[in-house]
Amino acid sequence: MAASETSKETILRYAFGNVLSFFILVLIGVLAFSIRLFSVIKYESVIHEFDPYFNYRVTQYLTKNGIYDFWNWFDDRTWYPLGRVIGGTVYPGLTLTAGTIWWLLSSLNIPLSVETVCVFTAPIFSAFASWATYLLTKEVKGAGAGLMAAALLAMVPSYISRSVAGSYDNEAVAIFALIFTFYLYIKTLNTGSLFYATLNAIAYFYMVCSWGGYTFIINLIPMHVLLCIVTGRYSSRLYIAYAPLVVLGTLLASLVPVVGFNAVMTSEHFASFLVFIIIHVVALVYYIKGILSPKMFKVAVTFVVSIGVVVCGAVLAVLIALVASSPTKGWSGRSLSLLDPTYASKYIPIIASVSEHQPPTWPSYFMDINVLAFLVPAGIIACFSPLSDASSFVILYIVTSVYFSGVMVRLMLVLAPAACIMSGIALSAAFDVFTRSIKFQLPGATENSERDAGETSSNSVVAQNDVAKTEKNEDAVKERPSKKNRKKEKEKENVEKPSVKSQIKKKLLILPLEASIIAIFLLVLLGAFYVVHCVWAAAEAYSAPSIVLTSHSHDGLHVFDDFREAYAWLSHNTEVDDKVASWWDYGYQTTAMANRTVIVDNNTWNNTHIATVGTAMSSPEKAAWEIFNSLDVKYVLVVFGGLVGYPSDDINKFLWMVRIGGGVFPHIKEPDYLRDGQYRIDSQATPTMLNCLMYKLSYYRFVETDGKAFDRVRRTEIGKKYFKLTHFEEVFTTHHWMVRIYKLKPPKNRIRGRAKKSKSKASSTTGTKRIGTKKKNPWH
């Protein structure tokens, strides 16, 4: 009778636990979603920043024209006159996801605009990502750690920065895909089920669709497989987890147009193939070991090794020769700069010019993962006791992602889930120990107080010792079968674990009551600090959409909506086919918001083209006019922050224009613009600087605003205050002067122009310079 009662109790307790954890998961999902809504509440439901505008535009195209047109889309509104094949150069995962959501909703007659769907895609997927984290951590260290890790991930600032409502970027869905792929890999590794292996390949396919960061997966998993093999943990489960992933995954990956044959041609994928070969060799070895007697096996090993070395050497030589024949050694620039952090700044200014490709600083670690940085080592230790296949994977994940995040700020995003998993494990383990010791001591105390206070300590110690001994036995017994690594055993173990293990651990490590209470209090405090920081980061640091700026002054909130003002002006008051030239940062926004053709945009695929624009911006007016005119440009857009103190304006980006322009057109020499190694615009500035187009367009008639022409970003008075534009005319300037749009004046009457030209040729050096431009300029 008692038995049935207790069994009922345990069943009830399990059911209660399941329901509880289900509700906790739901709440975590709600938390992950709602913490990202600060941007909508504080600002508005709008797409953020630069890249999301492109994704939004692609999604609009997809929903309007359907999937086939999307694959075949040749976009003639950008990279004029080259155009861009969108279908083949874009990671379609995000777009297809949002498009599917929109299609689903509209087929249910729920009238949501594409924009709304795009804005809320990222928060929805961050809820999915936290559930995926739960699953992954549960596979590694049980449900408690899973819930903890999911809660941490739901609000980790690093991830929030990329997935606030409106931040409609690839990373938003890619992090979910990344974690889910890892979960399925671990699940396959734990169960050896081919079903999960197939799912894993599909999840990997989704990841490839979503983000270029899929190379992280296809390198990390082989590394882990290699680690398992080297440490003697090879098993058939490992084989099932890995081999289908490589075969199916590579096939699926090459279906994505942007990856295509890269899936087998570039060096990023070679590691997986190499490990694929190795795992087969190892599998063969294990098989042969199984059939042969030990003696025969030794003979066979020496035989195979000698031949294998020769063959491998030959294959490697061929591979190396193939790879070495390509100029970048088969690695793309971004990947190379991952391996060699100094690579980009040395060779590719266009990659170095993006702030998110710079290495992070220490404060940014604290800002982005906060207390997790301190909990991660504890988590690593917890993963080592005991070390399983799954926990070794997580350790490898954190180690590699720490390295990569150190190279590029952007990859902090990959570190964040790993840090959350680790901290979840650490916190869960710590809470486990502390609550257990409290739980063990509390009923003991009550019992003793009932009977006798005198002998409690000695008694309990004896009991403890007793139990510890038996546990050790059990442990030893338990370890043995688990090494045999049979599938069914493993499954059973999973069931056994909670019961047996909890019994084992219950009395394994007991801390004093007071100490554990204080420790729990401190941990809760730490968690509270983390929550406070995350909410602050979500509300203040990462909620700004960057196209709308606000400032608080004594007379209330002031809104700077200049970007949209300019884009709206362009879209309504210029011809549909006019070309607008600006620095590439504003390309996506111009095509998406103003619907005008741009010369370059944020997809920096053609360095020469960008260099042409950079050259024009850093040339004198006449030469710039010629370059722009040859590109059919009608309007030039510059961003100028000098009036209101907006720091990321074009003058501050000017060094990259000079550097990138000079990289292709050697007549632009950086030293010409530098005084004392600095770009200066004050009275010390070089004449080249004061005569270049960017300077003139930024500061045209600026002196008339306050009489002194004080630039609030550079905190100085500008060098040349009074000048006129001869080849450009101002057609629009926004309310706070943040965006200024100029129109190219039509060419002058021919005879007059020729006369002037000959004059200027004779008189100044700029004439010769212009001729140089003409020769170098590819558009003539």
């Binding site: 008692a2 038995a3 345990t10 009977r451 038996t470 017994v477 079968p481 069914k488 909506d561 002006w569």
Partner: protein, 558 residues
């Protein structure tokens, strides 16, 4: 430049026009209001019947180039000699094409229901509003230039009837007058130009005059305005208005300098549209103002119980020829606009735009009725083009009927209420919530069925058998665990008795409890035996056995 227009001045007397009837206009007094972009001509006609027949219609004539801009025309009877205007009755006005008339004239006939008997007279107030009658001249100006417009009219009232006495007053905005045609009896009085009185002019007298003056009021023209009025019987009328606005004044040419505009906004950019005022109905709520790239932050809202006033600024000041597009939306309480009559419901809401200074080229009003509305009819105070379509939104199955009303050249005078009558049963309000509830209900039922039903395809497949065995083993393991628990409680009891023993030295009690526990333990091991056997027999349970045996040994040791 005005002299050119003076040259254009001429008089035409149309030839050989048949006398229409014996009506004469004994007195014509016209006032032309040019202070806004819509030109309002108020004519007071005193009609006399000199013939012997009963006359039932009065013809009004407009030249074609004026008639095509005619937005609004009413004729009311002015009975009380200008004082008691409340009793005025408006007469039906229709386009007619009388025979033998000059083809470049358009005629409107005012039907007099009572007719005008012999020798009787009648005073008619005719209000005609023209939408695009002011022409900017020069057509292209730079930013600092002022905007000048030209207005063409006739000094003599163009009418198929002889006019005895007439006068014309042109009211101009309080600003510079560049030039105006000087003919006989022309006076200028402040910002008013007066022509006349002229006496005894034959039918179809025409004397062109031109006024050229400064007009810096915004020429806000909505090329298209779509108003969508959506009725929700849950208590809301949602109005969404999509404007496609253009500044219809003199085109801006050359540079736009923000500096000049900010430094001297009323000199450099006097004719720019800075803001528009939308007078929304009282108790309007959830007001938004946005365009396709997001919210426009430059708007202000005032509200009191009588009205709600929304001041909107376009994203940029609009100079001549500049365009913009935006959307404003607001919700209104249902009970203010929806009424019942004779078993039908009807919506009674204003037709035109809440922004008064806008002239609308094409206005499309869409009234979205709730799903399931039937028997729909519209009554509008002026002729509109009607259509019907269907809209799907918010879980609709058959779609909502949409009444589409279209009208061109809409001015302030069209801001009148119109009615849409329809039948709708209150019960169908609950259709969609019920649909949602049942949808979720069936989802959960499906989940429950899925969890409880055995959906395996083949009962003999190895995976199915494995699953069965797995369940069996799990049940066994559960039982073993229960025995463990019992065993542990016994241990506790034993320990307690030992503790008692050490405290009290009562060996007997301890022995007794020991005996009892031993008995129970024996029972337990008895229970355990069949379980162990079954686990042994099952191949799946092979590796659990060692643990069970440990349990056994631990039992034994205790």
């Amino acid at each position: 430049m005005g002299f050119r227009f003076d040259l254009l001045m001429f008089m035409i007397v149309l030839l050989s026009v048949p006398v229409l009837s014996n009506l004469i206009l004994s007195n014509v007094d016209r006032r032309i209001d040019l202070t806004t972009q819509a030109v309002r001509i108020t004519s007071t006609l005193k009609v006399e019947n000199t013939g012997s027949d009963l006359v039932s219609e009065v013809l009004l004539a407009f030249p074609d180039d004026q008639a095509k801009h005619l937005a609004y025309l009413t004729a009311t009877n002015n009975e009380g000699k200008g004082k008691a205007k409340s009793s005025s009755v408006s007469f039906p006005v229709d386009v007619v094409r009388p025979k033998g008339m000059h083809p470049s004239l358009t005629f409107y006939s005012v039907s007099l229901p009572k007719g005008l008997g012999k020798g009787a007279s009648l005073t008619l107030d005719v209000l005609a509003v023209f939408a695009h009658a002011l022409q900017p001249f020069p057509e292209r100006i730079t930013q600092p230039d002022i905007q000048l417009v030209v207005f063409n009219e006739t000094a003599h009232y163009l009418s198929p009837y002889a006019v005895k006495v007439q006068s014309l007053t042109v009211k101009l905005p309080d600003a510079r007058i560049e030039s105006f045609s000087k003919i006989e009896n022309t006076k200028i009085h402040g910002s008013e130009v007066k022509y006349g009185p002229y006496e005894n002019l034959p039918p179809f007298s025409y004397s062109s005059i031109v006024v050229h003056f400064e007009a810096n009021q915004p020429f806000a023209i909505a090329q298209q305005l779509i108003r969508e009025i959506e009725i929700s019987h849950w208590g809301n009328v949602q109005v969404t208005e999509h404007y496609n606005l253009v500044h219809g004044g003199a085109q801006s040419k050359g540079e736009f300098s923000r500096l000049d505009y900010q430094a001297r906004p009323h000199v450099r950019g006097a004719s720019a549209i800075r803001h528009l005022v939308a007078k929304l109905p009282p108790r309007a709520h959830s007001i938004y103002y946005r365009d396709e790239i997001g919210n426009i932050s430059t708007s202000k809202l005032w509200g009191d119980p009588k009205k709600t006033e929304l001041v909107i600024e376009p994203r940029y000041p609009m100079f001549g020829g500049w365009r913009t597009a935006f959307t404003i939306g607001y919700g209104l309480p249902l009970q203010d606009f929806l009424f019942h009559s004779e078993g039908k419901r009807y919506l009674n809401i204003s037709f035109g735009s809440p922004i008064n200074e806008v002239v609308i080229d094409t206005l499309i009003v869409k009234v979205v009725l709730p799903e399931g509305s039937a028997d729909i009819s519209v009554s509008a105070p002026f002729p509109v083009k009607q259509g019907q379509e269907t809209k799907f939104s918010h879980l609709d199955v058959v779609g909502r009927p949409v009444i589409v009303l279209e009208k061109t050249n809409v001015v302030l005078e069209h801001n009148q209420h119109f009615q849409v009558y329809y039948k709708f049963s209150s019960l169908s309000m609950f259709g969609e919530p019920l649909m949602l509830i049942s949808g979720f209900f069936f989802l959960f039922v499906a989940c429950i069925i899925y969890m409880h039903a055995d959906l395996s395809i083949s009962k003999s497949s190895p995976s199915y058998l494995a699953k069965l065995q797995w369940d069996e083993v799990q049940a066994g393991v559960q039982q073993v665990r229960n025995i463990f628990d019992r065993c542990l409680t016994l241990h506790d009891k034993l320990e307690a008795s030992l503790r008692d023993l050490s405290r009290t030295g009562d060996v007997q009690a301890c022995k007794a409890s020991r005996k009892a526990v031993d008995g129970l333990l024996k029972d337990i091991s008895k229970d355990l035996k069949p379980l162990l056997l079954s686990l042994q027999s099952s191949p799946q349970a092979a590796q659990i056995l060692p643990k069970c045996s440990i349990c056994k040994t631990s039992n034994a040791t205790s």
